[in-house]
Amino acid sequence: MIEVVNVRKRYRRRYVLDGLSFAAEKGRITCLAGLNGAGKSTALKVIMGLAPYQEGAVRLDGKPIDRSSRERISFVPDRIAMPSSMKLADALQFMADFYASWNGARARELMRFFDLKEGDKVGSLSKGMAAKFNLVLGLAPDTDYVVMDEPFSGIDVFGREAVASVFSSEWVEGRGVLITTHEIAEIEHLIDHVVLLKDGRAVRSFDTERVRDEEGKSVVDVMREVLLA
């Protein structure tokens, strides 16, 4: 389980995370939802050690996150995080070189699924193709958790369908997924748990199925109720 416990992170004079606590379990898809500036991306960066924080703790299965955790949590950032001059084949090799958890066969499957060509350069990819390639880099390693920041950003409608189908595929099955997205409707039926963020705090946390069954509300309905109140 990835646990974020009472994390406070200050940026200049403002707390962008102000006592944030939530957990993402293995085998479930957890969505961090909120309006722009709520602290969703910052929360993911804190988990990945890409942003320092002043207070609180981040744990993986009860232990503080350290560099060895990076073999167990893969990250799909909201931008292509490989040099523009690199060929996709070189980027895959880079990952294979540095990650013991890298699964080359899965990477090739994902490349085929997203119709990506290894000879293309990272810099020549459209925004949508770059987002798909980011998913390849994030999903190919044999990690227990995948942390995704806006994986639908810049992808066209058919591409979004393809990406959404990944969430119900064997590539994600059994792993814990922590995702931030503005395209809630696209994957609402796949999400197990939602954490609503407002002003750097978790203001509500709920299981989507329970809310759907007991309250007859969609995720967007709850978001509207809580965040726009």
Binding site: L50, P77, A81, M82, S84, D97
Partner: protein
């Protein structure tokens, strides 16, 4: 160690065209200089108005290097400027632009000090590759000189004299081992100070520019002022010259150690993307 070497390999791979470009610039610039200067000088020797050539008055490669100071130095100065620029670029290119590679680098399952050390190693290697290339090129240029100049007017040059005949070679290729270690040790210290300044800026952004400037100024002051504070320019100094040199070396070592330690700490605790 393995991942550190892979990072060094990656850094060299990313700089390879830039490095080849600098080598090509030096090659073309210096060979053209040698060819043109040698032809001109050889023509002067064939001038009938000139008095007869005796053994003490021959055209040597050392002379060609001596009279072409600027043209020999120019590609090297350009390479030095490019490497200085690259000290900054090696960090900033991973943060700026469409591809924020720093996301990937900082998330690697390896100690972050390896990022710092791989970039530092790459810069040092580039310097030594260019130096080695210059030495090989000088030998090649001497061959070209031999092809152009007829044996009867050609004087021989000792390689060390060739190096001493250009002010920049004299600085960059010191003949004594201790001078070599001092010069390149000083260079490595300067790079670590700049790396730390860059990481201060990246960690604290706008405030970081001030911190970086203050850090560079403090290091510069410590290194520059120490010999004067110890009386290097005074006749009746309390210290012997070698003692002042040893203390200055210790200060440089301390500045390097503090810069590297601070750089590691910033990468581990403060840096963000």
């Amino acid at each position: 160690m393995n991942r550190y070497l892979k990072l060094v390999h990656m850094e060299i791979h990313r700089f390879r065209y830039f490095l080849l470009g600098l080598m090509a610039l030096t090659l073309v610039g210096q060979i053209l200089t040698v060819a043109i200067a040698t032809s001109n000088e050889a023509a002067k020797f064939r001038d009938p108005a000139r008095f007869s050539i005796d053994s003490a008055d021959k055209l040597s490669f050392e002379w060609i290097v001596r009279i072409s100071q600027g043209m020999f130095a120019l590609p090297i100065l350009i390479s030095m400027a490019a490497l200085l620029f690259y000290v900054f670029l090696i960090w900033y290119r991973d943060w700026l632009g469409r591809s924020t590679f720093m996301y990937r680098l900082l998330a690697l399952p390896t100690a972050r000090r390896n990022l710092y050390l791989s970039k530092l190693t790459a810069i040092v290697l580039f310097v030594f590759v260019l130096l080695s290339f210059q030495l090989i090129l000088l030998a090649f240029e001497q061959l070209i000189f031999h092809w152009i100049v007829p044996a009867d007017i050609r004087g021989e040059s000792v390689f060390t004299d060739v190096i001493l005949s250009n002010w920049l070679f004299e600085v960059l290729l010191p003949l004594s081992g201790s001078q070599f270690v001092s010069l390149y040790g000083f260079g490595i210290m300067a790079v670590t100070v700049l790396f730390t300044a860059i990481l201060l800026e990246r960690s604290y952004r706008i405030w970081g520019i001030g911190y970086a400037a203050a850090y560079v100024a403090a290091c510069g002051f410590a290194v520059y002022a120490t010999p004067f504070a110890l009386g290097v320019n005074q006749l009746g100094s309390y210290f012997y010259q070698w003692e002042i040199f040893a203390i200055e070396a210790a200060v440089c070592f301390l500045v390097t150690a503090v810069s590297v330690a601070l750089g590691f700490r910033l990468l581990n605790k403060r840096i963000s993307v």
